[in-house]
Amino acid sequence: MSGKIWETRNLHRLLLWILVTVIAILFLLPVVWMILSSITPNEDVIKYPPKWIPERPTLMNYIDVFTTTETTTVGRALVNSTIVTIPSVILTLLVSSFAAYPLARMRFKGKKFLLLLILMGMMIPLQVSFISLFLIFNSLNWLNSYQALILPAVISPFGVFLLRQFFLSIPGELEDSARIDGCSRMRILFSIILPLSVPALSSLAIFVFLGTWNSFLWPLIVMSDPNMMTIPVILSYYLYTLSGLREWGSIMAVAVVASLPTILVFISFQRYFVQGVATSGLKY
């Protein structure tokens, strides 16, 4: 009898396993198709019926992307995206750690109010103030500048909140003994709190990295000079070529190049990524 129950249980699990695996493969197929199209010559990619495996696989599309005069902007855009993303990540980590520390560890007037303000900031999307933000950067003559993308990226109420929650979980005794030994607050933050907070800092770093690298609407608004555009903005310009040329092979090569950094970061730090998203949802 118990053997039969065990069998039906296993059968259930097998069926569920097949279901999940099919779903996972379906989710992956568009990405696979993007990669396969990118190594198919432009003439072959629009042959009907479409073929998954290219008959004449080539890296020509990738070479073209970086060498044709029309597309040298892609290389430039990758550089721009990097120049914007790295300082955004570092600055956000610093600014958020500094803000989270007193909110977790010190007593002072107005703390409750500030926490509420930060929670509010998590709810109010930056997007609703893009018009006046644009006018401000315009009046500073900062359109088409890197700081136009970096500075707004540094405001991360979510980051402050995430780090504060994590700092709260670090036992206070460590800090007390360090203070008795005469360590300054700054030294405690840098030599005790932050080294213990690597998981939370990693989650936040991945978030800011993905958010800045993939940011679309704001860069589309402030970067009108092709030399300053980030990779998603350059990609949006391919829309205008779609009606005429159908160089899907080349376009997919640019798409792969644009996605590679985020996919690599995601796969290598999958755990921190999942933890970060989970915290954003759990702590309300």
Binding site: V20, V31, A99, S129, M252, V274
Partner: protein, 297 residues
């Protein structure tokens, strides 16, 4: 004597927390709160980029939107259409995927990576990729439709089904968020509850209805509000897939705002649209916080 020497130290000590908070608060006030308030002011002026004068016009921008701009009401309709398709589907599918991923089946790392990967692609990539897959002439999708005996369609070029397609692509791209939040919620449910249910003779479906769903109430509320707020801000996915077309059927509020502001440079009117979006989002946020307080009180 001691009092005098102590004071500066005390002041410094009192100031310390604020000094740590200063950089963040400076960014927060200058780049988030101040623009938010200035936005209200801009919405009350005729802020034409060409005209150096910015005359104060009261509520005239709002009047224009409400009574003269049929595209604005169209964008409200498109946004609601998007929300009513997007939010329920993403909740149901997000929860279903979370339950499946929580079963600890073989190869779960592969399953997770495959389902979460689309989430890290940027909207421009997602838009171009699906324009290619759905290409009426050469696309993979029509090819397989024909193979199973269905008529190929001019996807994204005819108003019919376009919003549905946009939402399906959006689900593929962003379902990871809901799935991860639900996964965390599921892992927070104590195992003993399920054991007790089994002892009481509940089958899997009953356990889902009476244990899983009630335990996920808070999570679901959070996800619903995040999705609704997020849907009001939808821009990149729609801009890249349809540009608001065909025949304005997918022209949501953010797309309308973008065109009014950055094609026609009517900043006052665009600011008015963002104020309207802000007020809607604010009301939803307040409702959520209220519900949450009742829930935990």
């Amino acid at each position: 004597m001691t009092k005098i020497t102590k004071r500066p130290g005390l002041l410094r000590k009192r100031m310390t927390p604020y000094l740590y908070l200063l950089p963040f608060l400076a960014f927060y006030f200058i780049l988030q709160l101040y623009p938010l308030i200035q936005n209200f002011y801009v919405s009350l002026t005729e802020w034409d980029m060409m005209n150096p004068q910015k005359p104060f016009v009261g509520l005239s921008n709002y009047k224009t939107l409400f009574f003269k701009d049929y595209l604005f009401w169209g964008s409200v309709g498109a946004t609601l259409h998007y929300i009513f398709l997007n939010v329920p589907l993403k909740i149901i599918i997000g929860l279903a995927l979370a339950i499946l991923l929580n079963l600890n089946l073989k190869g779960k790392i592969f399953h997770r990576i495959a389902i979460f990967i689309p989430f890290v692609l940027n909207t421009a990539v997602v838009g171009l990729l699906f324009r290619w897959i759905l290409d009426p002439q050469f696309g993979m999708f029509n090819y397989y439709l024909e193979k199973v005996g269905l008529a190929p369609q001019k996807w994204l070029l005819e108003p019919k089904w376009t919003m549905e397609i946009v939402v399906l692509v959006t689900i593929w791209w962003s379902i990871a968020f809901n799935t991860i939040v639900y996964l965390a919620g599921l892992q927070g449910i104590p195992e003993e509850l399920y054991d007790a249910g089994k002892i009481d003779g509940c089958n899997a479906w009953q356990r889902f209805l009476h244990i899983t769903l009630p335990s996920l109430k808070n999570t679901t509320m959070f996800v619903v509000i995040m999705q609704v707020i997020g849907s009001f801000q939808a821009f990149g996915n729609i801009y890249m897939l349809t540009g608001g077309g065909p025949l304005n059927s997918t022209r949501v509020m953010m797309l309308h705002l973008y065109q009014v502001g950055f094609y026609y440079f009517k900043m006052g009117q665009a600011a008015a649209i963002s104020v309207i979006i802000f007020i809607i989002v604010l009301i939803l946020t307040i409702i959520m916080l209220r519900l949450f307080r009742e829930e935990t009180a």
